[in-house]
C-alpha cells in the first residue's frame, strides 16, 4: 500500500543522482510513474472488492504510527492522478526543454516532479490530519520549484505570489491541526470522526471553518482563488498541466474528507453553497473576459471547482458521488486542455487569442484535440462532463431546498457560459483569421516561456495529449460503472463507522500489495 509513495521518493533520489544523464533520468521517471499507475490500479481493485485497506507504517500501534488508508475515494483519485502524471511526463520528455535552462548544476525537473507525485500520493492516502499536512507540504514545496524553473522574470514574479499564498494557507492548516489536537487529543481521522461529535457545536464549527479556509485556498474556491490565474499561466506547459490536474483537486479531496467525514455537513451548508455559487459565476465571467488562451483555461479551471463544491455542500451519497465523479472528469479534462494549449504554444510561440488564428488549416489534429475536451468541459451530451453535471443537477433537484435550486440554475448558466468562452477561443485560435495577425496595441505580452515558435511538436507530445483526450472521452463510455464506484466512494466517505472499523481494527494482513 505505501508503494506509490515509496516508489516516487526512490525515483526522486535515483533521478537526482542521474542528474548528468538525461536519458537514464527519463527512463527511471517513466518506469516509476508506470509502476505507480499499476500500484494505484491494484489498490483500487482491492478497495472495490475487499473494502477499504489500511496499514500503519513501522509497526507502531494505530494512532501513534503513520497510518495510510485507501478506500474507494482515495484509490479512485489516486489512480486518476497517477495516469495524469504519467501522461504529462511523456509530454515533457517529448518537449525536451522543460524550462530547465541547462545552466543549473543538476537537472532538477525529474526529481522535483517525482517528489510532487509522492506528495500527491501521501495526501490522498493519509489517514490523519498531520500526515495530510505533510503531504500538502511535500507537493507544495515541489510545486514552488517547478513553477519557478529556469528563474525567468515572469516566473519569479508569478512564483512569489503563489509561494506566499500557499505558505499562508499552510500556516492556517497547521493552526487548524494544532487546534483540533488541543480540542480532541488526536489527529487520526478515524478517532476524530467520533470525538468531534462530542465537542460543543461552536468549537466544532470554529475548527471546521479554520480547516475550510486552509483547503479553500488550495482548492481555489472563489474569494481565495485570485492566486491561480495569475500564477499557472507563467509555468512551463507540462508543469501547468499537472498543476491544473492535481493541485486544486487535492484541496477538493481534503474538503470532502474533512467536511463530510469529520464534521456535520449541515452546519456550513449555506456558506459552502454561497462559495460554490461565487466560484462558478465569477470564475466563468473571468474566463469570458480573457484574451489569452492559458489564462482563459485557468479561469475555467477555477470556475469548475465550483461544481465540486456544490456536490460537497449538498452532502449525502448522491451529492458527494457526483462531486467525486466530477473531480475525476475534471482532473483529466483540465490536464488535456492545458496540454493542448502547450501544443499550440509549441507550434506558434504564443497563446494570445489576438495573435492566433487559422490553426485548423495548419494543424487539424490539434484542433480536434482541443475541441473534444473543450466540448467535454462545457458539458455537451455524450461526454463525461455532461454525465457529471447531470448527476450534480439530479442530486440538487432531489435535495429540493432553495439554496440547492439557486445552485442548479447557476450550474446551468455556468455551463452555457463555458460553451461561449470555449467557442470564442475556438473560433479565434483555430477557425478565423490568420496566424500572427494584427497585434493589439495593448497586448505587450511576449511569449516569455517555451521554445521559439514554428516548431512542429514531437510525436510523444502529441501522443501524450491524445492519450489524455482519449481517456477523458472514454470516461463517458465507462460513465455508468465509474459513477457506481463514485457512489461507493461517497458511501465509504460518509460512513464514519465503517471507516472507524477498518482503521481502528486489526491490520488487514492483505493490505500490503
Amino acid at each position: 500500500m505505501p508503494l506509490p509513495v515509496l516508489l516516487c521518493l526512490l525515483g526522486c533520489a535515483v533521478t537526482l543522482v542521474l542528474g548528468q544523464r538525461p536519458r537514464a533520468q527519463r527512463a527511471v521517471s517513466l518506469t516509476v510513474l508506470t509502476a505507480v499507475v499499476g500500484a494505484s490500479a491494484a489498490l483500487l481493485v482491492l478497495a472495490v472488492t475487499q473494502g477499504p485497506q489500511h496499514v500503519t507504517m513501522g509497526g507502531w500501534p494505530a494512532g501513534v504510527g503513520i497510518g495510510l488508508v485507501a478506500d474507494r475515494l482515495s484509490a479512485l483519485v489516486l489512480l486518476t492522478s497517477s495516469l495524469v502524471t504519467l501522461a504529462v511526463m511523456v509530454f515533457s520528455v517529448g518537449q525536451g526543454r522543460t524550462g530547465d535552462t541547462g545552466t543549473s548544476p543538476v537537472s532538477i525537473y525529474h526529481p522535483t516532479y517525482l517528489a510532487l507525485t509522492a506528495g500527491v500520493c501521501i495526501a490522498f492516502l493519509a489517514a490523519d490530519l498531520f500526515n495530510l499536512y505533510v503531504g500538502f507540504e511535500v507537493l507544495l514545496t515541489s510545486s514552488y520549484v517547478l513553477l519557478t524553473l529556469g528563474g525567468t522574470g515572469a516566473r519569479i514574479r508569478a512564483g512569489a505570489t503563489y509561494v506566499v499564498v500557499s505558505l499562508a494557507s499552510s500556516l492556517v492548516f497547521l493552526t487548524g491541526v494544532g487546534l483540533v489536537y488541543a480540542a480532541t487529543g488526536t489527529v487520526a481521522m478515524a478517532d476524530l470522526a467520533g470525538r468531534i461529535g462530542a465537542l460543543p457545536p461552536a468549537v466544532a464549527t470554529a475548527l471546521q471553518l479554520v480547516l475550510l479556509v486552509a483547503f479553500g485556498i488550495k482548492a481555489a474556491a472563489f474569494p481565495l482563488s485570485g492566486w491561480l490565474p495569475d500564477s499557472y499561466p507563467a509555468a512551463a506547459a507540462p508543469v501547468a498541466a499537472v498543476f491544473a490536474g492535481l493541485l486544486t483537486k487535492v484541496g477538493v479531496y481534503a474538503i470532502v474528507r474533512v467536511h463530510d467525514l469529520l464534521f456535520d455537513p449541515q452546519t456550513l451548508r449555506v456558506l459552502l453553497m454561497a462559495v460554490a455559487l461565487a466560484t462558478l459565476v465569477v470564475g466563468i465571467l473571468g474566463a469570458v473576459a480573457q484574451h489569452d488562451l492559458r489564462r482563459m483555461v485557468s479561469f475555467t479551471l477555477v470556475s469548475h471547482i465550483g461544481y465540486m463544491l456544490f456536490g460537497i455542500a449538498l452532502g449525502g451519497a448522491a451529492g458527494v458521488a457526483a462531486a467525486v465523479f466530477y473531480a475525476v472528469h475534471h482532473i483529466l479534462v483540465q490536464t488535456a486542455l492545458f496540454l493542448v494549449v502547450g501544443l499550440v504554444e509549441h507550434r506558434t510561440g504564443t497563446t494570445s487569442l489576438r495573435r492566433l488564428g487559422g490553426l485548423a488549416a495548419l494543424t487539424p489534429g490539434t484542433a480536434v484535440l482541443f475541441l473534444l475536451p473543450a466540448l467535454n468541459l462545457a458539458g455537451i451530451p455524450p461526454f463525461s462532463g455532461f454525465l457529471g453535471k447531470l448527476a450534480l443537477l439530479r442530486a440538487g433537484v432531489a435535495d429540493g431546498r432553495w439554496d440547492a435550486w439557486v445552485l442548479v440554475v447557476a450550474a446551468v448558466v455556468t455551463s452555457l457560459l463555458t460553451l461561449y468562452a470555449i467557442a470564442r477561443a475556438w473560433s479565434a485560435v483555430f477557425w478565423s483569421g490568420r496566424l500572427g495577425r494584427a497585434d493589439g496595441p495593448d497586448e505587450p505580452r511576449e511569449p516569455v516561456h517555451g521554445p521559439a515558435g514554428g516548431e512542429r511538436p514531437r510525436r510523444s507530445m502529441v501522443a501524450a495529449t491524445t492519450g489524455v483526450v482519449v481517456a477523458v472521452t472514454a470516461l463517458s463510455l465507462v460513465g455508468g460503472p465509474l459513477l457506481s464506484v463514485a457512489e461507493g466512494a461517497a458511501r465509504d466517505t460518509l460512513d464514519a463507522q465503517r471507516y472507524l472499523r477498518v482503521v481502528g481494527g486489526v491490520d488487514d494482513p492483505g493490505a500490503e500489495p
Binding site: 543549473s104 525567468t152 512569489a160 505570489t161 497547521l174 494544532g178 489536537y181 487529543g185 495593448d442 505587450p444
Partner: protein
Amino acid sequence: MSPTVVLTVTVAGLVAVGVYLLTSRHLSRVVLGVVVMSNGVNLLLIAAAGPAGPAPIAGPGGAVPEEELASAADPLPQAFVLTAIVITFAVTAFGLALSYRLGRLEDDDVVHDAGPHRRTRGEPAGAAGPGDPDRDERHERAGGAPR
C-alpha cells in the same frame, strides 16, 4: 488541558507580528513574517500538548513506569513540531532564494501587481511588468545568473 497564559500570549504576539509582515510588498519581509508566524503556530502546537511533564522516554526495559506515564509530556505534538520546523526551514530557504532572485531582476524585491491590473490603471506597461523579457535579459547579463 489548560495551556499557560505566557504561551498563549506569545503565540498571539508572534502570529500578529507575522500577519503584519505578511501584508508587506517586500518579499524578504514576507519571508520573515512567515518565519515568525510559523514559530507562533509551532508554539500553539506545543500549547495544545497540555501541561509540561517529564520526558516520555522509555526506560531500559522498554516500558515507561505507570506513575511517570500519567504525568509525562505528550510526545505526539513534539513530533509534529519537529516536522513543522524542518518544513519551515526548507520553505524559508526557498523564499529567501526567491526574494534574492527577484531583487536581482527588479533592483528591489517588491512584488508588483500582475500585468492586466497595471494596465487598467494606466501605468506604463513596460515598467517592470510581466512580459518584459528585455529587462530580464539585461539584468541576467549584468550578473544575476539564473540559478
